[in-house]
Subunit: 265 residues, 2 copies
C-alpha cells in the first residue's frame, strides 16, 4: 500500500504462504500479481523484500535463489540482523545483492487486515550492510526506504541487534512478564487494570511464535538487556528499603525527561 | 467536568494549592466556586473528594476537619490505600465519614488542561471501607462513582494495595526502568525506538514526585511485585540459555491470551 501511494507505476508482486492470504491480497487489490509460489513471484523482480519470521527466511531464500541474478537487490524486514545477514548473505553470495533492513514500524497486529499505507511514515529503518556490500546498492536501498517515508540509519548487524534488544525485544518481554507476574501472583488484580496497564502491555499482543523466534535468535543481546533491567529493578528495591524517596524521584524524573524527548514519532 | 455532565445541578467547588490553578478553573468555568482556601471550600459540602498526592492528604485533612460534621462523606482518589485510610481515618474519626476510593482512571498527564469529561467512563473504582465504616455511606459513595460512569469494586485497603502494586505501580516502574536501561547501556539506541517502545514506556511520563510517593507509600507490596517481575525475567533467561524456544513461545502465548481478554476497557 505504501509503495502504491508513494511510488505509483511500480509493479508489485506478492508472495504469501497460504492460499487464503493470496485471496485477500487479490480481493483488496493490493498487488499486480500474487501467488504462493515464491520462485514465480521473485522471477524478474528488481527488488525483493522478504517479510516473514526470521526463522522462515532461509527456506524461502533457497527457493528464490535459482531465479535471481547479481543485479537484483534483496532485503528483509526481520527484527534480528546478525543471523539473517549471515545465513542469507551466504545463500545469495555471488547470486544477488543481499542487504538487511529493519523498519522500526509495525504494531502488535498481524495479517494483511492490519496493513496501513502510512505505517512507515517517519519510522526509522536501519540498514545493516556488510563490509563487502556494494556501496551503490546500499545507497539505492536507502533511497527505497526514504521513498517509503522512512528515515534511514546504517549500522553493523551486531550494533543493530544490541540496540533493538534494549528498545524492542526487552520491552516486548517486559510487557509479557508484567502480564505473567500479575497472572501468577494475583490474577483477580487484572480485572482492575486501567489504561496504564493496557498501554504498557500492548506489545504483548504480538504473535508469540514470531517473538519467541526473535528473542531466541538475538539470545546474547537479549540476555544482556534483561540483565540491565534486573539491575535497575534491584536498584529501586534498594532505594525503597533505604526509604530514599528523593532518590526514587530523581530516578523517575530522569526517565521521564528522556522519555519526553522521544515523544514525537 | 464528569459531575457537570452526569449530575447536572450539583454545586461544584474546587480547591487547588496554587492561585494560577484556581484562575484556570475560573477561566474554563469548571466550578461554581474555586479557592486556595481548603476550609472555605469544604464548608457546607455534602461530599468531599481529596485529589492530591497521597503525602499531601493529611495536611489538607487537618485543615478541613474543623468545618465538617458527621454526615459529610469524605473520600480520596489516591493510588495507595492502607496509609491513606489509616491516617485520614484517624483524622476524621467521629468528625465525618471517611472511605477511601481509587478510580483506575487517568493518564500520564497532569493538570486541569488534561481534564476530560469521559475520563471515568467504564473505569473501575475500588472502594476500601473499614470494618467500622457505615454501610449506607459505602452504598452512597458507590452510587456516586457509578453515577460518574464507573464500575465499582470493594476491597480491603491491603488487598487493594497488593493488587495495584502489580497492575499499576510495577508497570510504572518497569516503564521507567526500560528507559533507564536503554539510557545507561546504549543511549544512541533510543533514537531508533518505534511505537512499541513509546507505548510500553508512556506511563513513565507521569509526574515523578507523585509516583515516587506512591511507590514509597506502598513499599512492601511494590517490593513483592518487583520480586515477581525479576523471577519472571530470570525464568526467561534460563529458557534462552536452554534454547527452549518452544517454552518461550508458550510463555508469550499465555501472556498474549490473558492480555487479549483485557483488551476492551
Amino acid at each position: 500500500m505504501a509503495i502504491r501511494r508513494r511510488m505509483p507505476g511500480t509493479e508489485i508482486r506478492v508472495w504469501a504462504r497460504r492460499e487464503e492470504s493470496i485471496e485477500k491480497v487479490r480481493v483488496l487489490g493490493l498487488a499486480d500479481e500474487a501467488s504462493t509460489d515464491a520462485a514465480a513471484i521473485a522471477k524478474g523482480a528488481g527488488l525483493i523484500v522478504l517479510c516473514m519470521p526470521v526463522g522462515a527466511m532461509p527456506e524461502i531464500a533457497h527457493r528464490i535463489v535459482p531465479v535471481v541474478n547479481p543485479s537484483v537487490v534483496i532485503t528483509d524486514v526481520g527484527s534480528v540482523k546478525q543471523p539473517v545477514v549471515e545465513k542469507l548473505g551466504a545463500i545469495f553470495s555471488g547470486r544477488a545483492q543481499f542487504i538487511g533492513s529493519h523498519p522500526m514500524a509495525g504494531s502488535e497486529q498481524a495479517g494483511i487486515e492490519a496493513a496501513r499505507e502510512d505505517l512507515f511514515d517517519r519510522a526509522v529503518t536501519i540498514l545493516t550492510p556488510e563490509e563487502s556490500s556494494d556501496k551503490e546498492t546500499v545507497a539505492a536501498l536507502a533511497k527505497f526506504w526514504e521513498g517509503m517515508g522512512c528515515r534511514v540509519a546504517v549500522a553493523t548487524p551486531r550494533v543493530h541487534d544490541e540496540a533493538v534488544a534494549l528498545i524492542s525485544h526487552l520491552p516486548h518481554l517486559a510487557a509479557a512478564a508484567l502480564v505473567q507476574a500479575a497472572l501468577r501472583e494475583n490474577p483477580a488484580a487484572l480485572e482492575w487494570r486501567g489504561n496504564g496497564f493496557l498501554d504498557t502491555t500492548r506489545v504483548a499482543l504480538g504473535p508469540a511464535e514470531m517473538w519467541a523466534g526473535i528473542l531466541s535468535e538475538n539470545r546474547e543481546a537479549v540476555k544482556k538487556a534483561i540483565h540491565a533491567m534486573i539491575e535497575n529493578l534491584v536498584e529501586v528495591t534498594k532505594l525503597l528499603d533505604a526509604e530514599e524517596t528523593g532518590a526514587i524521584e530523581d530516578y523517575l524524573a530522569e526517565a521521564r525527561l528522556v522519555r519526553d524527548r522521544l515523544k514525537q514519532k
